[in-house]
């Protein structure tokens, strides 16, 4: 799993030893379980947790609104209507119809919503198709596209996060720039469970590589 290559791995390379955490899990499909139960946002929760280990709930026993209780397979249905690619000069256009996209499964000519048109493909249908990343196969989870995509992180389902643990999707360090990029276990160190814990409309609760746990952010790409 890409994002779980850890200090342990480095230490191991240095002869210190230790294992890289590994996650189990099988198939995909996000299962949101809004709970709505009371409790304050922020840190807390019980349960011992570390990356890839058992997970706490954080938030004083609340259940995160978005977590992956179980894995399910994605369907292989994608839109069949050809896109309306404008015939404007200067647009970066790799394709004009789905038929142009023949290099993978379920090729579709997709707009990224930013004036460019490129082929996207389903790169997985179940988590087991994501051996390279070790992460979740996100149904229609491509960035600004509706293809199935392998994500990164340290869990695939709640079961990977220990007893009463939760495995939740997170935006990357650039915020909503590329949508959900990975799934991580919640831990007792988490400073938030849901976006609603993060104040204003643009705040969001995301896994922070710098902190090593979920915390509020409004970061966009650096600049």
């Amino acid at each position: 799993m890409r994002a779980t290559r850890t200090r342990s791995a480095l230490a191991s390379a240095a002869g210190v030893g230790l294992l890289v955490a590994a996650c189990g899990g099988s198939t995909t499909a996000e299962s949101g379980s809004p709970d709505g139960s009371a409790g304050v946002g922020g840190a807390g929760g019980s349960g011992a947790a570390d990356s890839g280990g058992t997970g706490g709930t954080g938030g004083g026993g609340r259940v995160p609104a978005k977590h992956r209780a179980s894995a399910t397979a994605c369907d292989d249905v994608r839109p069949t209507d050809d896109p309306m690619v404008p015939d404007a000069a200067g647009l970066p256009v790799e394709c004009r119809s789905h038929a142009d996209c023949t290099q993978g499964k379920n090729g579709r000519c997709s707009s990224y919503g930013r004036g460019s048109w490129s082929c996207t493909y389903d790169e997985c249908f179940t988590d087991s198709d994501c051996a390279a990343t070790g992460g979740v196969c996100a149904c229609e989870g491509g960035a600004r596209a509706d293809n199935n995509a392998c994500l990164s992180g340290n869990c695939r389902t709640d079961a990977d996060c220990g007893n009463a643990g939760y495995c939740s999707p997170t935006l990357g360090p650039c915020g909503n720039y590329a949508g959900v990029t990975s799934y991580y276990c919640h831990t007792p160190q988490d400073e938030c469970l849901d976006d609603g814990d993060c104040g204003g409309a643009l705040g969001y609760c995301a896994y922070s590589d710098a902190a090593g746990h979920f915390k509020c952010s409004n970061a966009q790409c650096v600049g």
Partner: protein
Amino acid sequence: MAALLSLAGCGSGSDGPGEHQGPGFEQELARGACYVDDADFRRRELEDSLVNPDNAYSRLRLERYAESAWGSLPEWNPLTSAMGLGSSDPPADASAWSPLSIDDVPWQADALLKLGQEAFFRYPIQAFEPARRVAESAAIAPSYGFWADGSRLGGMVWTEFPSGALLPAYTCGACHASLEAGRVVAGKNNADLDIDAATFDEISGGDRVTSSGREGRLDVTPDGIDNPTAIADLRAVRSQRQLHRAATVENGLIPLAIRIETLIITSLAESARPPRKLAFALAWYLWNLEPEPQGAPPELLSRGRQIFAGECARCHEPPDFSGPSVPLDVVGTDRTVGESPDRLTGSYRVPSLRGVGDRRRLFANGAVFDLREVLDPSRTAPGHAFGLGLEPEQRAELLAYLMTL
């Protein structure tokens, strides 16, 4: 450092455009020492530099740039390792990893310059997972506009994050350096960098987005608006009157250091902060970069200088060829970047024209490719009508002069 402090004390003072490394540099370093050691000084400098205290950028900083908030974050100086081309995995050899040496650097101009230069290419600013894929082969990197320094992916480093994860991360050099004829030009904006394409290919599973159409541009404002801005050419940063396209910050060496420090804090989701000595060294390094004037036929220069005086100098005032910011309506270019509630001032800054001859991606949103296109009356990007009415011969003369700035 105490001796330096005594030179100037930690009061307010100018270090704005025009004061270069030279006779006054000891005073600049003294003020840098104040920035590192004196929280009240830092706070004053921040408050004095914010053009509009009510936009989101300013409000966040006014709320949290204090010892009780961001000042209490842990300092972060992680282990990093160069990203070699040909592998998507971090090096397994522990000897390949090291943090920056900061504490041992003396508070001296050259030593800080060297630290800043090293940090520019080695200190991680933000994780960027798609770089794994970019690093897989020497052929992939340039297709996304990343530059390569020999066998290394330019400006990218493997970084050990506090979680223990080993991830690729940007340094300043990924976006703000270019490869020119085999030579790394620090500070020059990477006009080819297509972060959107690299990101979408990574997450969408495509082999290669032909182009996102956004090379050299990036949406950096947390405002929920799609408003990419051109990556800045930092070689002329000392000559800018304001920082940010929207003229959000009055420029100066200390405001620049604070800008860098807070940029890193926010990119790390407010989990850590850079050592302030490092933030100042980065600012010091940028402050001392020099653009490289281009050559031009001498017979055109005299006339070109006269045309410049009539057409351009009212806003781009010598010797820095910058000036007070100009209302969005007057500039007339795309307003999207300037209207971001994150950085709103109602104006665009007047960019310094020092080094403009080989600058790429001009205007706030990077809508034109280079200086020649700016002055081309047939260009489609709107705004900045200044100079568009020149006759072809006059245009050539003006261009020749501008190339030499």
